[in-house]
């Protein structure tokens, strides 16, 4: 019996420490400042253990019975603690209160365990041996848990399942104690039944843990997710908060319906209005149909060719009722032709010419996207420009990614084009930049389509002026064999976030 008893001590010590580590880790993940989180949680936990130890003196009779119940309570509270905390963070304001409450309750119960256990076994051993053995195994359990936690539990099980696994251990200890201390217990049937019920509950929790974290993480996205899909090319997420719809591609914000008109009006009209009699327009990227919506405001435009890589994206924006309201069913216009193809090879192999070309790709966050911002690409695109043609390029933020912005301008210049950089303010993005490029001189238009909400003739000259904090800086061009832009972009955003 001796060794079984001490293994019990080892296990319950491990469980207690795991709950404490989980609370600390979770708080660090979700709230940050790990030093503060771990310090306060360890402090509360040890203090609560003291409370538990102090309370143990008020327990006089039925020690074994109470020990089993303590284990059961610990199993269920500790086991579900991590799932509860995740959900609390996602759905309530009371995360911290709940967390410290859980730490105190668990700490108190753990504080009760050892004194009661020592009293249960004190008749069988010398006091000297009891203290030595129990504390030895207590600390051994703690060592085991503290090694297991970072090496195996966190990487392979995650926090929610680790807690449930150790909840199961606590309940298993309870079940086993009903055999170990059978003689000291009044009736074991009821207790064992409770044990079995809790084991089932925790096992169920263990199998559903993924769903629990998914539910919680959904809510951490801040707004309701109305659409999420992993396509062959990207992860598309649409969120809605009241009347604000937002599109995220690979977790990068693409637009917010509240201010996207600023972005898309600025992308299209300064350029397109300056082209005399534009008939054919090409859009590269822009699978949301919002740029096309602006282009369709020109009755003289006969055809709009949109080349976007992802058929799921153009299908979504051709069919989703909420999105059709946004892009005003632009993809259903008979003037619009959608081609799902990779832009660079398409531009290389196609021979059509266009009066206006819109290049609206995601920011150059990796070398694959960076290829679409090179001298080689701009040269290939410029071959499609008609004699009067203009090209406009979305070019990241001249404020937050100043090096990147001017690198794109330089790249267009090296591709043999005249460049006309401009910028606007889009609240959900901040200062945003574009470049008009052409083989001839560009003059700002004097007439714009009616009904625009943001771009106005009077406001145009100001867009082309850059204040000192966004003014040009010398940058090398971005080339296929020397993609300086991706590095610059990475550095620009690092500088902001650190």
């Amino acid at each position: 019996m001796g060794i079984l008893l001490f293994i019990t001590v080892l296990l319950i010590a491990a469980c207690g420490l795991i709950y404490e580590l989980i609370a600390g880790t979770l708080a660090s993940y979700l709230l940050g400042d790990s030093v503060l989180q771990f310090s306060t949680i360890i402090g509360c936990y040890l203090f609560a253990m003291g409370i538990g130890s102090a309370l143990s003196r008020y327990i006089h009779r039925g020690l074994a019975y109470r020990f089993v119940w303590i284990e059961l309570l610990l199993g269920v509270i500790g086991g579900f603690s991590s799932a509860l905390l995740f959900l609390a963070f996602a759905y309530s304001q009371g995360f911290q209160i709940l967390m410290y409450a859980l730490v105190v309750v668990i700490g108190t119960l753990v504080g009760l365990e050892i004194p009661i256990l020592m009293r249960i076994v004190r008749e069988r051993y010398h006091f000297r041996d009891v203290v030595a053995h129990v504390l030895t195994f207590d600390y051994l359990g703690a060592l085991g848990a503290s090694l297991l936690f970072p090496i195996l539990l966190v990487p392979y099980l995650g926090l929610v399942r680790s807690a449930m696994l150790f909840g199961l251990v606590n309940v298993a200890v309870a079940l086993w104690s009903t055999f170990l201390f059978a003689r000291q217990l009044p009736s074991t049937h009821a207790l064992r039944a409770v044990c079995v019920v809790l084991i089932c509950a925790l096992a169920a929790g263990l199998s559903q843990a993924k769903r629990i974290t998914a539910v919680a993480e959904d809510n951490i996205y801040a707004d309701e997710i109305i659409f999420a899909r992993d396509t062959r090319y990207q992860h598309i997420v649409l969120t809605r908060f009241k009347d604000d719809i937002r599109l995220f591609l690979n977790s990068h914000l693409q637009f917010s319906s509240r201010d996207e008109y600023r972005y898309h009006e600025a992308l299209i009209h300064p350029g397109l209005s300056a082209v005399p009699a534009p008939r054919r327009v090409l859009v590269l990227g822009g699978g949301d149909g919002l740029a096309v919506r602006e282009i369709l405001k020109y009755p003289q435009v006969e055809s709009v060719t949109l080349v976007d890589l992802d058929p799921e994206m153009t299908r979504l924006f051709s069919t989703h009722p909420m999105l059709l309201g946004l892009n005003q069913k632009s993809f259903q216009s008979p003037r619009v032709h959608i081609i799902n193809a990779d832009a660079f090879p398409w531009v290389d192999s196609n021979t059509d010419s266009f009066d206006f070309i819109v290049i609206d790709f995601p920011d150059p966050t990796n070398y694959a996207l960076g290829k679409l911002y090179t001298t080689a690409f701009y040269k290939a695109a410029a071959r499609h420009l008609s004699a009067q043609g203009l090209m406009v390029v979305q070019s990241t933020s001249p404020m937050f990614a100043r090096d990147s912005y001017w690198c794109i301008v330089e790249t267009l210049k090296q591709a043999g084009l005249h460049t006309y950089p401009y910028h606007v303010y889009v609240p959900s993005f901040g200062e945003w930049g574009f470049v008009i490029a052409s083989a001839h001189e560009y003059v700002t238009p004097t007439l714009l389509p009616t009904g625009l909400r943001f771009v106005a003739v009077d406001g145009l000259p100001a867009m082309f002026q850059f204040p000192p904090d966004m003014s040009p800086i010398p940058m090398p061009p971005n080339r296929l064999n020397d993609q300086v832009l991706v590095r610059a972009y990475d550095q620009d955003w690092k500088d902001i976030s650190h």
């Binding site: 070398y367 996207l369 080689a376």
Partner: protein
């Protein structure tokens, strides 16, 4: 249906065994393009058919690698058409041969050209003709895309192949000192491409000692530096630094100082150049035609191939020079020509291995591997997303004497090499077996000339390279080492010599 207990147990245990075996997929493949059988026929002086027909040509080119094709290119460009090129293999291209499957074209050997310096005038002329160099600007699409290369060391990938992480102050000092030495050698103007243009007896001493000894004599003993030097010698010469002439080791670095970020490369490697050359001179190229005897005949030569005797005024011998004594009547055996055996493999990947945050690159090298790593044939794609690819795996068998390695190339079967390759790749791509569906392997017994100490200033080599008989030797091995630029230079030079004598007559 009644199932007996025995059957049930059998089925059950089979299922258990099936579950416990790792779910690796079968990998197809074979040896391809073997040519040693043909070579051994020559070596063993097998009997060849008697000539039944005679064909008269002013020039016969033997060997359709870069040297032979370049000779043909120059003859053709000067409007000289009375020639024929005989290639032993079914495919021309030599070390620049290539393959193609439903995913991409891929190289079987040479896969890039460093951006040529101003002295490599013939290479520049060729690349200008092919649209790689326009005006003074290199076409971006043919330059290796970012990110170019990476090295796996200390359990992670670093950018670039020269070790850059985990260097001690001592390591850094030695790398810097080496760079300074190389700079001085470069400034001397003696280390050029083509090598003949700069070669000077000033540096003859360097050719007498191994590169390793020279490094030692300069107090360069850093482990990282020595690894890198060994890697470079294996990469360009198929030999360890201890088996390479110090002159050649220095030449690798001192001969190049590109003004543009390169190298120049294509999915099929230098096969792209072979394709362009064949577009021009393909009509003169006869593949599957092994020359088996070359004999003096009057003032010219006869080349015997199959049942044909080609009577020529000039023979340009562009095949590897070590074959010459087996073909040319009365030619003495050679002593100064040694070659490194190589193995290359093309791996078809139906899916890409996990990269764990590191950007996939064109050239991928693993420190302390006996192999040279792999090159991704899809790297030069303009697609924004790649789902399948072909990797070309390079292995210069440098660790033991060439003859021993040649024997093991012949002795070991395909599965042996397949496993060796997968083991090597598994160190950096644990999931590689789940990605690869096919591995084809090509064995080269005499892949490239090995510049042993003494090879560069060898009297034998210089005599054969001198182009003063009716039999003109043009293989790159006459430079002491096998690189594209040297092969092309020697091919063009041989053609020009012929044209000078024949006066551009066609």
């Amino acid at each position: 249906m009644r199932v007996s207990r025995r059957k049930f147990l059998h089925a059950g245990s089979a299922a258990l065994v099936g579950l416990s075996v790792k779910g690796d997929r079968p990998i197809a493949g074979s040896f391809v393009n073997d040519s040693f059988q043909l070579g051994h026929k020559l070596r063993d002086r097998s009997s060849f058919p008697v000539a039944r027909s005679v064909e008269k040509r002013a020039v016969v080119i033997v060997g359709g690698g870069i040297a032979g094709l370049s000779a043909a290119w120059r003859l053709h460009k000067r409007d000289f058409k009375d020639f024929v090129l005989l290639e032993m293999n079914e495919q021309a291209g030599g070390n620049s041969r290539w393959g193609e499957n439903e995913i991409t074209a891929y190289p079987w050997g040479a896969h890039y050209i460093p951006v040529p310096g101003p002295k490599a005038t013939y290479v520049r002329e060729l690349l200008e003709e092919f649209g790689v160099l326009r005006g003074a600007v290199w076409e971006e699409r043919f330059l290796c895309f970012t990110p170019q290369d990476r090295l796996f060391l200390y359990g992670r990938w670093q950018e670039g192949i020269e070790p850059a992480i985990g260097l001690s102050a001592n390591d850094r000092e030695q790398f810097q000192r080496l760079e300074d030495c190389i700079h001085t050698f470069r400034e001397s103007g003696e280390f050029t491409i083509p090598m003949e243009r700069g070669l000077s007896s000033h540096s003859a001493d360097l050719d007498r000692i191994p590169f390793n000894d020279w490094l030692q004599s300069q107090g360069m003993n850093s482990k990282l530096l020595k690894w890198y030097m060994n890697y470079c010698c294996r990469d360009d010469y198929g030999a360890l630094a201890s088996d390479t002439s110090a002159w050649a080791g220095i030449h690798y670095f001192a001969s190049r100082d590109p003004d543009e970020k390169g190298p120049i490369t294509w999915p099929e490697g230098n096969g792209w150049i072979v394709k362009r050359l064949l577009e021009r001179v393909g009509a003169f190229v006869r593949t599957g035609q092994m020359a088996h005897r070359i004999a003096k005949r009057g003032s010219g030569c006869s080349v015997f191939s199959g049942e044909t005797e080609y009577q020529a005024e000039f023979v340009i011998f562009a095949a590897p020079t070590f074959l010459a004594p087996y073909l040319v009547e009365g030619m003495a055996p050679l002593h100064d020509f040694e070659y490194s055996p190589w193995l290359t493999a093309n791996l078809t990947l139906d899916r890409l291995p996990a990269n764990h945050g590191a950007d996939a690159t064109w050239d991928n090298v693993v420190m302390d591997s006996p192999t040279l790593g792999y090159v991704d044939a899809m790297h030069q794609t303009l697609l924004s997303r790649v789902e399948r690819t072909v990797w070309t795996f390079y292995w210069a068998l440098a660790e033991r004497p060439p003859a021993v390695n040649r024997q093991s190339l012949l002795d070991k079967d395909w599965s042996y090499w397949k496993e060796a390759i997968l083991h090597d790749l598994e160190r950096v791509h644990p999931d590689i077996r789940r990605c690869v569906s096919r591995i084809d392997i090509m064995r080269f017994g005499h892949a490239m000339a090995r510049p042993r100490p003494g090879a560069i200033f060898s009297a034998e080599r210089r005599k054969l390279a001198s182009l003063n008989s009716r039999l003109l030797f043009a293989n790159s091995d006459l430079s002491g080492f096998s690189i594209f630029e040297e092969a092309q230079y020697r091919g063009v030079r041989a053609a020009e010599k012929v044209l000078d004598i024949l006066g551009g007559r066609s």
